[in-house]
């Protein structure tokens, strides 16, 4: 009797959960399906979910129209480059704050996070002009610098929360065992913190991949990552749903897959250690 009742509620909850999550996922599913339709079918007033003539033509058109792979490569270089550079700067800082605490540590962390609160428009003009004067407009290196800086506070904070979970005694043990600071960081701290470092890297790759403000403003044809490439579909090509869908699918699918694979670590990283 009890089993029956709990199974019944499980059934209801399952239907509800699948229904709602299906609705949330629907726009993405619809985009991917539409990318395989013909333009006529894509705007059909009685759209079909699966029963249509599947075609790869849209993908061929998108690739022919603009150098998708160049933009893809730009996105890879910018997001990965800025995340790796960020790690290089953030790891020592996070080590300091997590293991050599003083009264100012907390204020410093708050300050770092508060730089994230600074609206990009506050520095838009100077950055634009500095970039123009230093020939950094529309270059990958320029965007790597900006992405590194805007994500640095998040990286430091994430790494800090991961490092904090490592007992100080383990690092002290390595000092007692005769390790110097280099050995301590490379042979003890980093291997132990590897999952945390990996998820910091991943989250920042995703944030940088999807960043749109600076990407749209500071790049043009040469260094434009996929966010800017897609924006060029805003009109009037946006009316060609199937091609728009194909381009969109190509922009989001790589990061979607990466995100799905790493969702467990991401959730912890995303909350700055507020949930475990």
């Amino acid at each position: 009797m009890a089993i029956n009742k709990s199974n019944k509620s499980k059934f209801i909850y399952t239907i509800l959960a699948w229904g709602i999550s299906g609705l949330i996922f629907f726009p993405i599913l619809w985009t991917i399906l539409t990318s395989f339709k013909t333009e006529a079918e894509a705007i059909s007033a009685s759209p079909s979910l699966l029963m249509f003539d599947w075609t790869l033509e849209n993908y061929r058109d998108v690739l022919a129209r603009s150098p998708y792979f160049d933009h893809f490569w730009n996105s890879v270089v910018i997001s990965l480059g800025s995340s790796l550079l960020g790690l290089l700067i953030a790891i020592p800082a996070a080590w300091s704050m997590a293991f050599v605490q003083n009264k100012r540590t907390k204020n410093l962390l708050m300050w770092m996070l508060s730089t994230k609160m600074l609206p990009p428009v506050g520095v838009l003009i100077p950055i634009y002009m500095l970039f123009r004067d230093f020939d950094l407009l529309d270059t990958k290196i320029g965007l790597v610098i900006v992405m590194t800086l805007i994500n640095l506070p998040i990286m430091v904070w994430m790494l800090y929360t991961y490092f904090r979970e490592i007992p100080n005694e383990i690092l002290e043990a390595s000092r007692m065992d005769g390790a110097n600071i280099i050995d301590e960081i490379f042979h003890v701290l980093l291997p132990i913190a590897l999952p945390g470092i990996a998820s910091t890297l991943l989250l920042n790759v995703i944030l940088a991949w999807n960043e749109a403000f600076w990407s749209l403003i500071l790049t043009a044809a040469n260094a434009a990552p996929l966010t800017a490439f897609i924006a060029s579909y805003s009109s009037p090509e946006g009316l060609f749903y199937a091609k728009l869908s194909a381009a969109s699918a190509m922009a989001i699918v790589p990061i979607l897959i990466l995100g799905w694979f790493s969702q467990k670590q991401l959730v912890r990283g995303l909350s700055f250690g507020a949930v475990k």
Binding site: A17, P27, M112, A212, L216, S234, A274
Partner: protein, 290 residues
């Protein structure tokens, strides 16, 4: 708890981060501040003279500023409200015993990984378009007039799109937080005779406060500078109906080339953000660092 040796080492290792962030914050900010007092337009070069607070006067008294100020407020609070309420609901639902929870999680999480430009384009064209959009088809099918979302309710449409992007984030953080709740607390509440509603109000919700704080903090950081969604869908229109402060300053400085005016706007935006951040920092200072 450390030695002098490690303390000086720590300072050395902190140095690059602090220096970079300081430079990133101070240098451009000072330049913005400087420009904001100039009559500086890229279209009329060489004519940049000191004009005091005129730029501020123009910016602050511009009806567009008032409108975009409230739009910004509405956008941030609207999205926060939808994602928190929806997120808590989803988190409670996904915490139940259900079949295929992993697949459900994957589907719910997906919108978070979609870049803003793509989600804006997909919603604008394929879902909300008044002629060929799916919503319009659906409206016709049930026999009502399709809504022209971006003409009739531009800001609300953008709130919907942004909420869709951030709902997964809120839901997943909150779900993880709920799952970390000690089951014995709930069992104790059962024995004390608490019903599902009082269990939620007195045990689950207080347990979530840390996670809710984190969600508010992080979402606010990103929501204050929403840009691409507006650029791609409405370009701030009609009129200024969907312009937020970020977008207003963008149009002023990079579309109208009014560096002075844009800079004054930038400084105003920084001050407003500081007010919000002081408030938020207090909140997390108490709540996040247990």
């Amino acid at each position: 708890m450390a030695t002098t040796n490690s303390r000086s080492l720590a300072r050395l290792m902190l140095f690059p981060s602090v220096l970079l962030l300081l430079a990133w914050m101070i240098v451009p900010l000072c330049m913005t501040l400087y420009f904001s007092f100039l009559d500086y337009n890229l279209l009329t070069p060489g004519n940049d003279e000191f004009i005091g607070f005129v730029n501020y006067e123009f910016f602050l008294t511009d009806p567009a500023f008032i409108e975009s100020f409230f739009n910004t407020l509405l956008l941030v609070t609207g999205v926060l409200f939808i994602t928190l309420v929806g997120g808590i609901g989803l988190a409670v639902l996904l915490d139940q015993a259900i079949w295929g929870r992993n697949y459900v999680r994957i589907m719910v999480l997906a919108p978070f990984f979609v870049m803003p430009t793509v989600s804006a384009l997909v919603w604008k064209n394929m879902l909300m378009n008044p002629v060929n959009g799916l919503f319009a088809h659906f409206a016709t099918w049930i026999g009502v007039d399709p809504i022209d979302f971006f003409a009739q309710m531009p800001l609300f449409s953008i709130i919907i799109i942004v909420s869709w992007q951030w709902l997964p984030f809120a839901a997943l953080i909150l779900l993880t937080a709920i799952q970390s709740l000690d089951r014995e607390q709930l069992e104790a509440a059962d024995l004390d005779g608490a019903g599902p509603i009082s269990k939620f109000l007195y045990i689950v919700l207080p347990h979530l406060s840390r996670a809710i704080t984190a969600v508010i903090l992080i979402e606010t950081i990103f929501l204050l500078s929403i840009f691409a969604e507006i650029l791609v869908t409405t370009s701030g229109g009609p009129g200024y109906a969907s312009t937020n402060i970020t977008y207003l300053i963008y149009t002023q400085s990079l579309l109208q080339f009014d560096v002075g005016g844009g800079s004054a706007g930038g400084i105003v935006a920084v001050i407003l953000a500081n007010i919000v951040s002081i408030f938020l920092m207090r909140l997390i200072g108490k709540n996040l660092e247990g």
